[in-house]
């Protein structure tokens, strides 16, 4: 960790009545980063965000922004603004007055405030709605007003609390990109809280997966997805097949994991000892399904590895892809997701016997 990080969180702990909400979290966030705190409810992510904003005081630890310790600084004196999950728009003020609220507190001249409000309205494309009251706007528009209000003061750090949480699914997808674009245009450093992994993946440059007040893994979205370091992270982010097994061969260029009903040939070494219990994680989209027994995968010595037969127990058609649940003789279910790249490509159906196979580079071996 470099000493001159933009935002430094050092050994931050927060206790509520004896319950530890945030447990010794440390992280450096660089200028311009969009950093997501991802976790299910109660994992401490919101508490951490509220400590950044100044609504909660850390029990111990320090938070430094641009080299300045934020301890003791009330929310109104911090050079950061927050977009609230509920938006918290002032119902008695117009859209323009909501956006101007923070600027007026700074005592800026009226002309400057007006110009800034106009620029913000333009940024979120709500110019025509300046005179409306919040209740006259749709959920998506309210969300944009909230964003404009939190950006109006040109905060050094933007805090987003579940920025899309209050929108319905369709609107979410549209807004997600738009929000990401605006944040990128403005170039503001951003810490966001979300329980939605998709939201975190599309918007953030780095993600911290949180559970029980701790950071389990911090990394770029692809890193978190493709190389999770723990069962929890692998399971939390996206869909995954987790197969518990034993390390039976450990070489520099490959390892073999015996899971009982199937055997994994993993095309990379791991640090472990023979016989240790491990979990192999394979993403459903990395497994191929076929009616006929497939050729052994490239890099796998023989057909005894990375290949298994079962019957299609369940299938769900999602349009662009189909999810199959292949039941093995042992009872284990293997989830497979197959892209529908050709029309009418699905030939398998319920009860069919089918083969699943995967490449020796597709697995992640988890030791915790």
């Amino acid at each position: 960790m470099s000493a001159e990080a933009f935002l430094q969180i050092r050994n931050v702990v927060k206790d509520f009545d004896g319950n530890r909400a945030v447990d010794n979290v440390s992280i450096d966030i660089a200028k311009g980063e969009v950093f997501a705190l991802l976790g299910s409810s109660g994992c401490g992510k919101t508490t951490l965000l509220r400590m950044l904003a100044g609504f909660e005081t850390p029990t111990s630890g320090t938070i430094t922004l641009e080299g300045r310790d934020l301890a003791g600084l009330p929310p109104y004196a911090r050079p950061m603004n927050m977009m609230f999950q509920s938006y918290a728009l002032f119902p008695h003020l117009t859209v323009a007055d909501n956006i101007a609220f923070g600027l007026k507190r700074d005592g800026l001249p009226a002309a400057e405030i007006a110009a800034r409000v106009e620029a913000m309205l333009k940024l979120v494309q709500l110019g025509a709605y300046a005179k409306r009251k919040p209740h006259q706007l749709s959920g998506g528009q309210q969300q944009r007003v909230a964003l404009a209000r939190s950006l109006a003061k040109k905060p050094h750090l933007l805090l987003l609390d579940e920025p899309l949480g209050a929108l319905d699914k369709k609107l979410r997808e549209e807004t997600q990109m738009e929000l990401a674009n605006i944040i990128e245009d403005v170039g503001v450093t951003c810490v966001m809280v979300t329980h939605d992994q998709e939201e975190a993946m599309t918007m953030a440059s780095r993600i911290a997966v949180m559970s029980q007040g701790r950071f389990l893994q911090v990394g770029a979205p692809a890193e978190i997805y493709e190389t999770p370091t723990s069962r929890f992270v692998a399971d939390f982010i996206g869909n995954v097949n987790l197969m518990d097994g034993k390390l039976v061969e450990d070489e520099a260029d490959h390892v073999i994991v015996d899971c009982g009903d199937l055997r994994h040939w993993v095309g990379h070494g791991i640090t472990g000892t023979l016989g240790m219990a491990v979990t192999v994680a394979v993403r459903p989209e990395k497994i191929r399904i076929a009616a006929e027994p497939p050729e052994p995968e490239a890099g796998v010595p023989d057909a005894g590895f990375n290949r298994v037969q079962g019957t299609v127990k369940d299938m769900a058609y999602f349009g662009s892809f189909t999810v199959y649940h292949l039941q093995l003789a042992s009872g284990r279910i293997v989830k497979i997701s197959q892209g529908n790249t050709e029309r009418q490509s699905a030939t398998l159906t319920w009860g069919d016997s089918a083969w699943a196979s995967w490449s020796p580079l597709s697995q992640v071996v988890l030791t915790q």
Binding site: P74, A77, K153
Partner: protein, 306 residues
């Protein structure tokens, strides 16, 4: 079809009952009062406005009472002083009641029912008894009077012209306003409390986040958002205060002539019913104006919510 008709009839009944109630018990008596106010006095009783005389129906509307109300400065000043005392009481109730309601609404949730109970507790004793109690408290050597004198506040009140002299607290504008403020304070606190308790506290966090100190957030967010509560409380205090009779009678003095007492005097001392009715009609009209403003404001709020 008949089901629909029955449903409509049921609806009409539900909507109609309050209207019928108001028509029978407010509008009708009011019209009677209005009628009396324009009739003429005949020694001990008043004449009907429609009379059968010499084979002709004669209508006689006598607006002399209303003319007198405008011309006689006594009536005019009575109205003004009623409005003045009601306004002062309302302001005092707001000043005392707002912080009270605010801290009640922000108190621990488990504590709030008890606090609410304490506000309503005085209602368990007769209003008349409580006003009489003030008489005993404020009279010479009364508990409160002694305390005020010990603190030297009576001299300050005298300097402000609220009491005629040090040591004379009863039957003064001071005792009147004190009694009215005491009596009507709960009517200010309750609507304010219910309004403030509903407020979304995240708005204050948002204000704080945007650079507002607690004080600024209070004036810019809390107060504007509690406007409906302020208006409701003010109306509940102001309207009954204008027509208040008992408190001015028991705690007021010669300086504090109010409409309620004038009404009483006209009815029972002067036995001049038409004049009394004219005073009553004028008072109703005076009070209806703020009520109309209030209901228009409420309608606006309603519209804003939907």
């Amino acid at each position: 079809m008949s089901a629909l008709r029955r449903w409509l009839a049921g609806r009409a009944a539900v909507v109609g009952i309050p209207y019928v109630w108001l028509a029978v018990f407010f509008l009708l008596p009011f019209l009677v009062v209005a009628k009396i106010s324009v009739s003429e006095m005949e020694t001990t009783t008043f004449k009907d406005i429609v009379a059968w005389k010499d084979g002709a129906i004669a209508f006689s509307l006598n607006f002399g009472n209303y003319l007198l109300l405008v011309q006689d400065s006594l009536y005019f000043s009575t109205f003004v002083s009623s409005l003045k005392y009601a306004a002062v009481t309302t302001l005092l109730c707001l000043t005392i009641g707002y912080p009270f309601a605010y801290f009640m609404a922000r108190a621990r949730a488990t504590l709030q029912p008890a606090l609410l109970m304490l506000v309503m507790l005085p209602f368990w004793t007769s209003f008349l008894l409580r006003v009489y109690a003030w008489k005993a408290l404020l009279t010479e050597h009364g508990l409160v009077a002694e305390a005020i004198e010990a603190l030297g506040l009576d001299r300050a009140l005298a300097a402000l012209g609220l009491v005629p002299g040090a040591g004379q607290l009863m039957n003064t504008p001071f005792s009147l306003v004190l009694g009215m403020t005491y009596t009507y304070l709960p009517f200010m606190i309750l609507p304010l409390y219910s309004n403030l308790a509903k407020m979304d506290l995240r708005l204050l966090e948002a204000a704080s986040d945007l650079g507002a100190t607690a004080w600024t957030a209070f004036w810019k967010i809390t107060v504007p958002l509690s406007r409906a509560g302020i208006v409701a409380g003010a109306m509940l205090v102001f309207i009954p205060c204008v027509g208040e009779y008992v408190i001015p009678e028991l705690l007021g003095g010669p300086q504090t002539q109010m409409i309620g007492r004038t009404l009483w005097d006209e009815f029972f001392s002067n036995n001049d019913w038409p004049m009394a009715c004219a005073v009553a009609v004028t008072m109703v009209l005076l009070v209806i104006v703020p009520v109309a403003v209030f209901s228009r404001y409420q309608a606006e709020v309603q519209e804003r919510r939907t």
